[in-house]
């Protein structure tokens, strides 16, 4: 159950014990990350939508941007990864298992449903040079940065003769 489902309940409606336990687990996870890693909340919780938000790491090297997303139980064939400008979006769905009639759920701590996770990339990237792998529920994207032209140095030729009025013996300073 997403957090927002808990928050939109009417005051008279008491959340179930399992829902409270789940909320507590989510809060502990968030605070663990804030304390241990200094998570940027504004990047983590805004600009993305869905029933759950996959955790992501974004890092860079000189040549590329690396995005790693935790997607346990998600079929990689159903993932939709797009790059538009400097925005990367990872969209997909983690489908819950269909229960047989005789099965009873005792606890649901895993997260299911649709998600869209957007990440702002630090630089322009070349989306034609992207490498994506999915292993053990973790998506890893290597996205090449756009190689910017450093500019061409223009050599300046010294004049063959001094300008009229120039004193060739005068020293220069700058």
């Amino acid at each position: 159950m997403p957090l927002r489902d808990l928050l939109t309940k009417s005051p008279k409606e008491e959340p179930s014990e399992s829902a409270v336990k789940k909320l507590k687990g989510e809060m502990e996870r968030i605070f663990d990350r804030i304390v241990d890693e200094g998570v940027h909340l504004h990047d983590s919780f805004f600009g993305s939508t869905g029933e759950w938000l996959p955790a992501v790491d974004v890092s860079e090297t000189v040549e590329e941007v690396i995005v790693i997303a935790e997607l346990p139980g998600v079929d990689p064939a159903t993932l939709d990864v797009t790059i538009q400008g400097q925005t990367l979006a990872i969209a997909g769905e983690k489908k819950p298992r269909v229960l047989a009639s005789e099965e009873k759920v005792h606890e649901t701590g895993c997260r299911y449903g649709c998600f869209i996770r957007r990440v702002t990339l630090p630089v322009d990237v070349d989306d034609s040079k992207t490498d994506a792998t999915f292993a053990n529920g973790v998506l890893t994207l290597h996205i090449a940065k756009v190689v910017t032209n450093p500019g061409k140095r223009i050599d300046i030729q010294a004049a063959s003769a001094p300008f009229p009025g120039d004193d060739p013996l005068a020293s220069t300073s700058c």
Partner: protein, 121 residues
């Protein structure tokens, strides 16, 4: 900025593993989200009716990685569940796929009561 350097040495955080528990008359199914672990790094034990789970999620990048956004830390997922003694532990199956561990514990099927025929004169 570069991602070359020595392996990450930052300590792991210990987190309660998120699990689903589904029961039927035939079996108990426990599913745990453990993204980034591996079969070698997952330990499941049964002891006196208690199931214990421990899974290590190792660092994914090097110490010198230049992070722009970081939401993941090396993690040890743990979980302990009192499940009782009614399961056939010799027939338990464990499967780790796409970052999800699935345990299936078959219920020991109680032998049906048998009527004892009485003979007499």
């Amino acid at each position: 900025m570069s991602s070359t350097g020595s392996p990450k040495t930052s300590p792991s955080i210990e987190v309660t593993a998120p699990i689903d528990v589904i029961a039927s008359e035939q079996e108990l199914v426990i599913r745990a989200d453990l993204p980034g672990s591996s079969v070698e790094l997952i330990d499941v034990r049964f002891d006196e009716g208690t199931l214990s789970l421990r899974a290590t999620i190792p660092p994914r990048q090097l110490e010198s990685t230049a992070y722009l956004l970081r939401e993941f830390a090396p993690t040890v997922y743990t979980r302990s569940l009192e499940i009782g003694e009614q399961f056939d532990l010799d027939q338990v199956s464990a499967d780790y796929e796409s970052g999800v561990l699935t345990l299936r514990l078959p219920v020991v099927q109680a032998k049906k009561p048998r009527r004892v025929p009485i003979t007499g004169g």
